[in-house]
C-alpha cells in the first residue's frame, strides 16, 4: 500500500497578544491509501489547527508554518499559493467543517453548490457537471430531484449529506471530516456514519476523522492518533489503541467514557489541558498524570511498539 499523506514534523504557531500559541507542535504521521485516521483529543488540543495546516486555511497571525506535507507523493508545504489552490486544495484533499450545516448558501440550489467547483476549477461544461452532480448526490443517498431544491428546504441530515457530496465531487484522495456529526441527532448521526463507511469501501477514499468523542471515533478509525496540547501522545492501529492504550492520557480518555454495553467504573482525568502559549516543560501531560516521575521533566521521545504503535511517554522507555 502506498501512502497518500505523509506528514513530518509539522508545526503551526499563531502569534497573539499573549504570546506564541503552539497549536500544532511537531506532528508526523502517514496515511495509506484508503485508510482512516481518527484524531482524538479535547477541545484546544490542536485537532482543527492540524486540519487547517493540511488544507492551508491559515489566518493572518501565523508565526510559523513548517515541516513537510507530502500528498500523493508531492511535497505541498513549499508550493506557492496559486499552484496549491489549483492542484491540491479541494482536489486531492477536501474538508467537511464543524459548521458544515451552516456552510450551504440558503438561496442557492443544491445543484449549484455541486457544480460550482467543477465549472470553476476544472472548466467542465455545465451539462456534464450536472450529470456528475446527479451521480454524486445519489451516491450519498439523496433522491436526484433534490438537485433542484434550495438548501433551506433540507433537514440537518440531508444538508450534511450534501456537504459530503460536495467534498467528494472532485474524487479526492483525502477527506478531512472535522466533527462531521456532532451537530446532529443520534439517529441521523448513525445514518451519516453508515454513509461514510459505505463511501469508504466503495470509493477507497482516506478520511482524517476529527472528533472529541472517542466512542464515535471508533466507528471509522483504522488508526487512532490521540492528540494532547499540540502533539500526538499516542498513535497506532485501532485494534491496539482502543483495547490496550499505552499513554496515561489515552487511558484516561477511555476510562472517562460512559459505556452502554459494559459496566465499567468511570474515572475522569484531573485538571485541565495546559495553555498552548506556555506548555509545561518536558511531558505536557505531566501536571495531570497519575504516573508522573522525575524524568518526565524532560521531553519524552516517541517510543515505538512494533512497527505501527507509538507512544510519547517515559513509562515505556528508560533513561
Amino acid at each position: 500500500m502506498t501512502s497518500v499523506l505523509d506528514v513530518r514534523n509539522l508545526k503551526l504557531f499563531y502569534r497573539t497578544e499573549a504570546g506564541i500559541v503552539r497549536a500544532v507542535d511537531g506532528i508526523g504521521f502517514t496515511i495509506s491509501n484508503g485508510r482512516t485516521v481518527a484524531l482524538v483529543g479535547e477541545s484546544g488540543s490542536g485537532k482543527s489547527s492540524l486540519a487547517r495546516a493540511l488544507m492551508r486555511f491559515l489566518p493572518k497571525n501565523v508565526s510559523e508554518y513548517s515541516g513537510s506535507i507530502r500528498i500523493d507523493g508531492v511535497e505541498v508545504l513549499g508550493m506557492d499559493e496559486y499552484e496549491f489552490n489549483r492542484k491540491i486544495r479541494w482536489k486531492k484533499i477536501t474538508y467537511v467543517s464543524q459548521a458544515a450545516l451552516n456552510s450551504l448558501n440558503p438561496i442557492m440550489k443544491v445543484v449549484d453548490h455541486l457544480i460550482e467547483p467543477l465549472i470553476l476549477h476544472y472548466g467542465i461544461p455545465k451539462k456534464e457537471a450536472i450529470e456528475r452532480a446527479r451521480e454524486v448526490l445519489v451516491r450519498v443517498g439523496i433522491p436526484e430531484d433534490f438537485l433542484w431544491r434550495y438548501s433551506f428546504e433540507l433537514s440537518g441530515g440531508m444538508k450534511q449529506r450534501v456537504v459530503i457530496a460536495i467534498s467528494l465531487i472532485s474524487n479526492p484522495k483525502i477527506v478531512i471530516l472535522d466533527e462531521p456529526t456532532s451537530a446532529l441527532d443520534v439517529m441521523t448521526q448513525a445514518s451519516i456514519i453508515n454513509l461514510l463507511k459505505e463511501l469508504k469501501n466503495k470509493l477507497g477514499v482516506s478520511y482524517i476523522f476529527i472528533t472529541h468523542d472517542i466512542a464515535t471515533s471508533s466507528e471509522l478509525a483504522d488508526e487512532v492518533a490521540v492528540m494532547y496540547a499540540g502533539q500526538f501522545v499516542e498513535y497506532g492501529p485501532s485494534e491496539r489503541v482502543y483495547v490496550e492504550p499505552l499513554h496515561p492520557y489515552s487511558k484516561g480518555l477511555l476510562n472517562s467514557i460512559p459505556r452502554l454495553r459494559t459496566d465499567t467504573a468511570l474515572a475522569s482525568i484531573n485538571g485541565v489541558p495546559p495553555s498552548l502559549i506556555n506548555p509545561p516543560k518536558g511531558c505536557r501531560f505531566r501536571p495531570r498524570c497519575p504516573y508522573v516521575k522525575p524524568v518526565c521533566e524532560e521531553e519524552p521521545p516517541l517510543i515505538a511498539f512494533g512497527s505501527e504503535h507509538y507512544v510519547r511517554c517515559w513509562l515505556y522507555g528508560s533513561k
Binding site: D185, M187, K197, A215, T216, L253, S256, I257, I269
Partner: protein
Amino acid sequence: MEVSNTFSEKVGKDSTAELLMVKELRVWYPIRKFFSVVGHVKAVDGVSFTAKRGEVIAIVGESGCGKTTLAKAIMKLVPVTGGSILFEGIDITKASKHVIRTWYSRNVGLIQQDPYGAMPSFMNVKTILEEPLKIHHIEKNERERKIYEMLTEVGLTPPEDYVGKYPHMLSGGQLQRVAIARALVLNPKLVLADEPVSMLDASLRVEILTLFKELQEKYGLAVIYITHDFATAKYFSDRVIVMYAGQFVEVGNAKEVIKKPLHPYTEALINVIPDPDPKNRFVIRKTLSGEPPNLIKPPPGCRLAPRCPYVMEKCKIKEPPNIAVNELRLVKCWLYES
C-alpha cells in the same frame, strides 16, 4: 414574604413520597394566522409520571421530541394546555403567581444546556449567584456565606478567585459548575437539568455529572435529567423515560431498559450508540428510516408506525395504550398487548 414561609411550612409537613406528579400533561403551541388559531404543535401530548424525593429520572429522546417543552412546562415557563402538575400536592398549573414566585421557584432549580448563553455576560459570578438570593429576600451576610459555600461545593476553590470573574473568563466546564451552583443556591427540592453536559467535551462530561450526582445525593435532590445520551443516563439516573413525538414510549429502570429495550424506538436508539471498539468500523448500524413525524398532524395510531420495522395494521389506526409489562416497566406498543 411571611405568607410564603408559612405556606411552605404547611406544605412541607404534608410531605409524601411523591414530590412531583405529572398527570396527562399536554402542551400545545398554537399556530396563528392573522387573528385565528389554525392548528397546534402538539409538543407534549398526554404524558404522566411521578418523581419521588431524591430520585433521578432521565428523559431521553431526540431533538424535537418535546423533552425541553416538558421541562419548560414544569418550570412554568410555557402555558399548559391540559393536565396537571402537582408539586408537593399543589397543582402548580392552577396556583397563583404569588405562590409560584415565592414558594415554587425556590424549590425548583434549572440547569440549561448552553452555559455560555445561560450566563449574562455583564454579570460576574458573584452577581449571578446573588440574584436568586436577592429575589427571595435573603439577608446580605447570609447571601455572602451561601455564595462562598456553593462555589466550594461545586469545586471552584478557593471561591475568592472566582467571585469576581465574568463568564468569558471561565472555561465551559467551570461555567457549568457555576450553573450548578446557581441552580442549587436556594436549596431546591427538584432540579431540572436540560442537557447539562452536551456542549462539553466528552472527557469533561463525566467530571461534571459525577460532581452533580454527589451533590444530588448529599442534598437528597430529585432530578429530572433531560438528555439525548443513553450512556450517561445509564450511569447517572435511577429511572429512564424514553420520549418520542411528544409522548412517553417506554418507562423503566435505567439499566434494565438499556439491557433489554422493549419498545422498537428504544431498541433503535440504543442500537446506534457506539461504545469504543475497533470492530465498530466493520458494522453498518440499523437505523430507522424516515424522520420523526410532524407534530401538527401526528399519525393517527402509533406515532412510530411510519418508521417502525415491526409495524402491524392495528398500529396505523389505533393509538397503543401504556402497557405495564411488570411493576416498573411501561411500554406504549401493541407488541406487548397480552
